[in-house]
């Protein structure tokens, strides 16, 4: 039904269940849980800005194939992520609750939604020069007009939700 499958939702669910059973200490643990996401986002935001991946100029340079910069960033990011996932699988690492740590692939179903959605997203990326992560980061750097872009992006997501039953999937 949903196209977002989170490998960890099971593990997270049991964690939260445990939290409510254990009362106040577990509630504290749940709060620290969210601090992890805040910190991960914070470091990601800094890297996005300092790599200049948030820059409209860099995205234009990429779509014009005139610099290796963005290809180097995305390419090396994929290589490091793929190698890490391979090692995690190879070492058979599991979560605290014993679930294997793997990323559940998203639904494929022929690839129509990925292709059509991808083209629409790519058009927006070339226009705004920022994808969702960089939108949040740019607002932080003080480019406040991106708040309008964020509102538009939320509106776009909402329109997708509305039109979803009528779109080829």
């Amino acid at each position: 039904m949903t196209s977002d499958t989170h490998a960890g939702s099971l593990a997270q669910g049991s964690q939260e269940k445990g939290a409510s059973e254990n009362g106040s200490t577990a509630q504290g643990a749940r709060r620290t849980g969210y601090i992890i996401y805040l910190l991960i986002g914070l470091v990601f935001g800094i890297v996005l800005v300092k790599s200049q991946a948030v820059s409209w100029f860099r995205i234009q340079e990429m779509f014009r194939f005139q610099s290796f910069h963005m290809y180097g960033i995305i390419g090396s990011a994929v290589a490091v992520a793929a190698l890490s996932l391979f090692l995690i699988k190879k070492m058979k690492l599991t979560s605290a609750s014993g679930e294997p740590l793997i990323i559940e692939p998203k639904e494929f179903e022929g690839g129509k939604s990925q292709m059509f959605g991808g083209i629409i997203f790519g058009a927006g990326w070339a226009l705004l020069g920022a994808c969702p992560g960089p939108i949040f980061a740019l607002i932080g750097t003080g480019t406040l007009v991106l708040l309008v872009a964020l509102l538009s992006a939320v509106t776009g997501a909402w329109m997708y939700g509305l039109m979803r039953p009528f779109l080829p999937q």
Binding site: H6, S9, E16, Y34, L38, G41, L42, F44, I46, V47, V49, K50, S55, F57, R58, Q60, F63, R64, S76, A77, V78, A79, A81, L93, L101, K106, E107, F108, G111, Q114, M115, F116, G117, G118, I119, F121, G122, G124, W125, A126, L128, G129, P132, I135, A137, G140, T141, L144, V145, A149, S152, A153, V154, G156, A157, W158, G161, L162, R164, L167
Partner: protein, 186 residues
């Protein structure tokens, strides 16, 4: 140290760092790295209406993602305030020439003020770039089931065919806009 961090980070430093977010998030929290689901969670939290796509437990499924998005915003503040993150970008001469030929005159900062600023918002070009661009990003990312982080990085690293299709789509859309719309827009 701050001085070193304040110069732009080369791709071979920033790229591997970005890649490490995938295993870090998986190991610490079991989650799949990706940002654009946050747009869906905002809809689900604010205006779900009767739409099936937005009627789910957004706190349980999405609060972590929204918290991460808040973190990205704070990271942007730190980068700009402490690490000179909003300095101009040294793009290639070829790109400067192409964009100048199209009519772009401002190359300062992270984004061109000629297109992306409060002043430009009501001009046709600025409106298309900011409002239409933002709309297409939100619509397209949800339709495709992910954005640059979820598909181009996490999905491809996870060897998912759907993510490869999505990234091919990103480039088809991006190239059409770059070579067929920008000549008329600027």
């Amino acid at each position: 140290m701050i001085e070193l961090l304040s110069s732009p980070w080369p791709w071979y430093v920033s790229g591997p760092l970005i890649g490490l977010f995938v295993p870090t998030l998986l190991l610490l929290t079991g989650k799949r790295f990706g940002v654009s689901a946050s747009l869906r969670h905002i809809c689900a939290a604010a205006v779900p209406g009767e739409i099936e796509y937005f009627n789910y437990d957004w706190k349980g499924k999405g609060l972590w993602n929204l918290t991460m998005a808040l973190g990205i915003f704070i990271g942007g503040i730190i980068a700009a305030q402490v690490l000179s993150g909003s300095e101009s970008v040294a793009i290639s001469n070829a790109t400067v020439e192409d964009l100048t030929a199209l009519g772009l005159t401002t190359f300062e900062g992270l984004v061109p003020v000629q297109l992306i600023s409060w002043e430009s918002l009501l001009s046709p070009a600025g409106f298309i770039v900011i409002v239409l661009g933002g709309f297409l990003i939100g619509f397209g990312a949800r339709y495709a089931g992910g954005c640059t982080s979820g598909h181009a990085i996490t999905g491809i690293a996870n060897l998912e065919l759907g993510s490869l299709v999505a990234v091919i789509g990103f480039f088809i859309g991006g190239l059409i806009i770059t070579f067929f719309l920008y000549p008329f827009l600027l």
